[in-house]
Amino acid sequence: MILEPIRPKILSVQRIPHAHEEVLRAYGANPAKHTSLGLVTCDQDDSTYVALDEATKHALVDVTYARSLYAGAEYSSGRLSGEIIGVIAAAGPTEIEVGLSALIECLEHDACFYHGDDRGEIALFPHVVTSIGHYLAAESGLEFGSSMAYLVAPPIEGTIAVDRALKEARVRVAKLFTPPTETNYMAAWLSGELSECKAAASAFAEAVLEVGRNPRSQ
């Protein structure tokens, strides 16, 4: 079975309705503007980055802190740690609630990794964000609302596949994360028309599968 979805597991969802000023500051929030925090941990970092971004499209929240945890979900520090901690901040708890529900909906219905081989040893994230929110816009330098191919795979598969995606679709690199990253994957944010982003993600996924089948190409 190839390209089977791997559903992300949301490990913890927490709210701090009135966070301490020092905590707000430490997690990137601005005490003059933000009062409440929403925190989430999940076993898939990239699905969660996409979901955090989705939250900024549904509520007046800012993603003030989002970091992958080292070595990935398989080697996490605790039952609830997973692979990422994400923090959204807002003026009040209501906004946090709306933001969290958009985030959870996105993780449950949209963003996920896929299996890249039969044995479940290669995972990839050939995701297309139809229109990016404020978080990915700020991180990538792209305009709010533009389309993005958010592509992730293990180091060598991903490198070959990004090269292929760039050649097969009319997209340009917004940001390239070369290995090793915190989770030892590599990633690319490509931008272009929606149809081109789809073509890029499709080419990327296909190339990852190919490298997996034929690891020592001649």
Binding site: P5, D110, A201, A205
Partner: protein, 298 residues
């Protein structure tokens, strides 16, 4: 369906994976319309007071200065959200097959195209035409067609119930009924092509209606005699507001079958049809059972 899921499904097909993608987590249910209590407005007339008891529409809501009261505005917004959620809902994958419907598709490829291109939603794709040819019973009196229309949520919620009551009532009246089918991304006029393809005398398409405020679960049924591509809306008759606060889904079949029978007897439909009593009489039980969204506290 998410953009990524779509492209993965396409890629799997291209790479020769036979199994379809596992179904996505079921969509969250659309909450029922919110129930809010408004304070009585002093200057309110008895007429408005009484009118408000008979409708879920926002009547008799008063005003504050030149504007609506905040709570009325909030109610308006939440009802609008219910309607928008309904338009955005999709038929769950595999639902039609599980319910035993012949699954038909139009020429529309995705939901966005469905909203933007009504013309494509009025025609079947090649595969569905073949399906009809192979599996659909032909030359029937009545061909019922279930469809998502502008609220897949309504179709899933009460479509089967309407269809069952219609089939039962047709059987009672001695009318033959065609193979049950359900079309995705369908517009009303699709009934012409389907009816024509199966040679039905009357085609009835039952589909999610354009949601109004607070009503995401309403179905409409359109009937046409001698369905054929090129029929206009003047050739059709329709019944709307088939939901729990209007015409009850499990009773709608009685009216629909009565209309179909009249069409068969008079050999026409649309504005020229003399409406049978059974299709026009007010089903008073349904109206009185409407829970009022707008309640006036004395």
């Amino acid at each position: 369906m998410s953009t990524t899921r779509e492209l993965i499904a396409e890629l799997r097909r291209r790479l020769g994976e036979d199994e379809p993608l596992p179904p996505p987590a079921p969509a969250l249910p659309i909450p029922p319309p919110p129930k809010r209590v408004f304070r009585a407005v002093k200057a309110q007339s008895n007429y408005l007071r009484e009118a408000a008891e008979h409708t879920t529409a926002l009547v008799g809501i008063g005003r504050v200065g030149t504007r609506y009261a905040t709570e009325v505005t909030l109610q308006f917004q939440s009802e609008l959200a219910v309607a928008q959620n309904a338009v955005a809902s999709l038929l769950p994958e595999g639902w039609r097959e599980a319910e035993g419907f012949l699954p038909l598709d139009t020429r529309v490829r995705d939901h966005e195209e469905y909203l933007l291109r009504p013309d494509l939603g009025r025609r079947l794709d090649e595969r569905s035409l073949l399906l009809l040819e192979e599996h659909a019973e032909r030359n029937v009196d009545v061909q019922p067609i279930l469809a998502d229309g502008l609220s897949a949520q309504a179709c899933v919620q009460s479509g089967s119930s309407v269809l069952n009551s219609l089939t039962a009532e047709c059987a009672r009246l001695g009318l033959t009924v065609g193979t049950p089918m359900c079309a995705r991304f369908a517009r009303v006029w699709l009934q012409d092509e389907i009816g024509q393809a199966v040679g039905a005398k009357v085609a009835i398409i039952i589909l999610g209606e354009r949601p109004g405020l607070g009503t995401g679960d309403g179905l409409s049924a359109y009937l046409v005699h001698s369905p054929a591509i090129g029929n206009t809306d003047g050739d059709r008759n329709m019944i709307s507001n088939i939901h729990s606060r209007g015409l009850l889904p499990d009773r709608a079949g009685v009216r629909l079958a009565a209309l179909a029978k009249a069409m068969l007897e008079q050999g026409l439909s649309g504005v020229k049809l003399k409406l049978p009593v059974a299709a026009t009489e007010v089903d008073s039980s349904a109206i009185h059972s409407r829970p009022a969204l707008v309640e006036l506290v004395p």
